[in-house]
Symmetry: C2
Subunit: 465 residues, 2 copies
């Protein structure tokens, strides 16, 4: 396998293929086949997302994939932002369609006409919905599995509120939700407020969750947007107030995608292959039998499998005897299974199991009777190790610099003072090929701009995916 640190890009492409996550031999560039193992991991991520939003009274819906040109054109900034990257359906059977329809690049234009029918009064607010669907972008740049593609597995939450303040509270709640999700995925991140020229088309402001992959390039893995009344005024979404007048709602959105899986793959993996956080792992614990001539170890292993499954662990049993134990260990390591339970003659006669964690450390002996208690604890330990390693990686790749000179060979998320002007960010981009991710959210301390020397704040620059 490729060396992950030195050739991250090649390592990434190889592991996505050989671990059975995605097959990119489909004949349309940037549209890949979700293979069973990759789809299971993504569905586990979806489940984490759903659990977090369902518990906060978001309702799941599903809107049509097609959006008419009329629907899309309602908000000017929005259509301008997307018109160069949408796919257009122009024919049905042999008929030229009267109305051209776009494959949704995101669903504001699909949803907000319906919002104007659904929202009537205070009783309908806040409105909180979400959907998990595919969205489509006619991507002209180089594509990369889970990172830059043309068919995107997408989570989008949309809310409507009776006031801007309430919409701001929603933005705070999104950050809480995101904190929980990123904790389960063991992903470090920082929050950056995108420059005005890079915010979501139609938004008042955009906060992005940025992380960094081993190659040193940043990856946006989530965004939350404050729309204020920008959309509601155009789509006519308003409610009747107590005084008999109507007011436009304030709106927000929260978007996540399969880039979460890209980050899990890229940040946690090593030269042996994938390492899945237990919450994401399609298989959390694999039991590998070591054949013995003196006794059949399978019934003992099968009983442990049943016990683990009953305890809610995603466990699997590998009794293949046409492969050596070593081959099987390598395969499950490559596939990123957090825990391996080895069962041979010694384990059966000693009434125990040998356990090995994918994040390393010594192999351990566990008493047979302790398994249902120990395995969840060991999974927690793996998650803790992944967080610690990822945080360390993140710290190394998100450092502050005090001058353009220092920034010259900087890698990752490059923090530096910035005045906020496009001229100064263009200068940084021109000299260093680092784009502005925007002001670092929460860094309020004043800091001189590394370009013009004027007063500014800490901002983040990077080469990004």
């Amino acid at each position: 396998m490729e060396n992950r640190k030195e050739n991250f890009s090649e390592w990434y492409n190889e592991i996505v293929d050989i671990a059975g996550l995605s097959d990119k031999r489909y004949p349309i560039k940037g549209m890949n086949v979700w293979m069973p193992y990759g789809l299971k991991a993504m569905q586990n991520i979806d489940r984490i997302i759903r659990t977090n939003v369902d518990s906060r009274d978001f309702q799941e819906v599903s809107f049509p994939v097609l959006i008419t040109r009329d629907q899309l054109s309602v908000e000017f900034e929005h259509v301008k932002g997307f018109e160069n990257e949408v796919y257009w359906v122009t024919r049905g059977g042999m008929d030229q369609l009267d109305v051209e329809m776009a494959l949704r690049p995101t669903s504001e234009a699909a949803m907000y006409g319906m919002f104007s029918l659904w929202v009537r009064s205070h009783a309908d607010l806040p409105l909180r919905i979400y959907q998990i669907v595919s969205v489509y972008r006619y991507e002209t740049k180089h594509t990369r599995t889970f990172i830059r593609i043309r068919e995107i597995h997408f989570f989008e939450a949309h809310t409507a509120h009776d006031s801007y303040d309430d919409a701001e509270r929603q933005m705070d709640q999104y950050r809480e939700i995101w904190k929980n999700i990123s904790h389960e995925l063991c992903l470090p991140y920082m929050i950056d407020q995108r420059p005005d020229w890079d915010k979501f088309p139609g938004a008042r402001y955009t906060l992005a969750f940025d992380t960094v992959l081993p190659g040193g390039r940043s990856l946006q893995i989530g965004t939350i947007h404050q729309y204020g009344t920008n959309f509601s005024k155009n789509y006519d979404i308003k409610y009747l107030k107590d005084d008999g007048t109507h007011e436009y709602v304030s709106q927000t959105t929260f978007g996540l995608s399969e880039r979460l899986l890209a980050a899990v793959v890229g940040i946690h993996g090593d030269d042996q292959g994938l390492i899945f956080p237990p919450a994401v792992a399609p298989i959390q614990a694999v039991i590998v039998t070591i054949p013995s001539k003196s006794l059949d170890v399978v019934p003992y292993a099968q009983a442990i499998l049943d016990e683990l499954k009953a305890a809610g662990i995603r466990a699997s049993l590998d009794t293949r005897d046409n492969y050596t134990p070593g081959f099987k260990y390598n395969e499950w390591e490559m596939k990123g299974v957090p825990l391996r339970l080895e069962i041979g003659e010694k384990e059966v006669s000693g009434n125990r199991v040998t356990v090995s964690a994918r994040t390393g450390g010594r192999r351990r002996q566990i008493d047979r009777g302790d398994i249902s208690r120990s395995v969840p604890e060991l999974l927690e330990e793996v998650a803790g190790n992944l967080r610690a390693r990822a945080d360390e990686h993140f710290r190394k790749l998100s450092r502050k610099y005090d001058s353009i000179e220092e920034m010259k060979n900087a890698q990752g998320l490059v923090l530096a003072g910035w005045c906020g002007s496009r001229d100064c960010s263009d200068a940084i981009e021109g000299k260093l090929e680092l784009g502005a991710l925007g002001f670092n959210h929460g860094s309020e301390a004043s800091e001189k701009c590394v370009v013009c020397g004027k007063d500014g704040k800490i901002a983040v620059f990077s080469r990004s995916y």
Copy 2:
């Protein structure tokens, strides 16, 4: 509400709307919005399907929605069958695309090129995969929610086998799977082998699961197809045999859709609204509190809610005090919740609960301590009642007739002798407006054709959706 028996079509449209299953005010005809309650019901149906196929070693995948014209054109019958009803994407952004792409109407053409890469030897067979996705049909007929639409929620399983016999065994297994699924959904059906002119484009033969809605029209709610080597020869899917030669695989598919929800709505509902089978119900048991001046009944109700949830019941608590209990009862009845638990002063002081089943019968008193045991039993009872009622309805609407004369005012699934010729089925269609659903599967006894009098077998005719 509309009378279900007399105005089934209007009743159906009304209940789909007021129960919050689907909103058809979306600006594209035949593309509707899945509302939270309807989506939950569909997701429960999906879960039943997944459980049944996962346990038989089917692997879930997800293929791209777009299919190039080249991919679609590989199998002649197949493309001919679909070319008049696919949506074509012809532009990306401002660019005219070099290769026109269809929104999948079904996924044979998307999948089978990949199958030719995946299948190499015996070790890769049988290959069993499935996906649950949206498919698209440019439907020119009158649309109807969940029944005839342009964006269809679709389950499709695809298999490949080393021999025709093994593919035939797969067809048998599909019928077993379907038996389990239809049992959970409490849906009666018959299996009909579609006439050659109405089989799936490219299939050797098609077996359909047909049911009948109260209006007397038949509804196809599932199909299984034997492809033999029709597709594998065109898509070049073959494996290396032990003797060094290559052989084309035999293939089958199994398709289900949101029509399952249409059947659940149409067959089980009554003049009060929906009745969900417990396995499908988004809410299986609703607890309705009856406010009391002398004591707060909510803590008692809340404890029961928690207990039911812990027992794996999808339970909900309605403590709204701005509505009368009667209003709330009606609402939950309309929404088809199988069990209602009433909790007022008498229940709290008597340490019990009053339970009412959506399928009728006397209200029952249950001891507080028995709830976790009784509620699952009562849910089973509701399912049993639904099956009995649906079977009775099905028997009335699937009768055998001995002559064209007798068939004149026949409703539902009309069984009659048929020789199998198109001429005779055209004659029946011309005189009675009944289309041929094909020979009834499993009826092997010889029967004279009601048109020509020649030897034939029992076939099924109907007005269908």
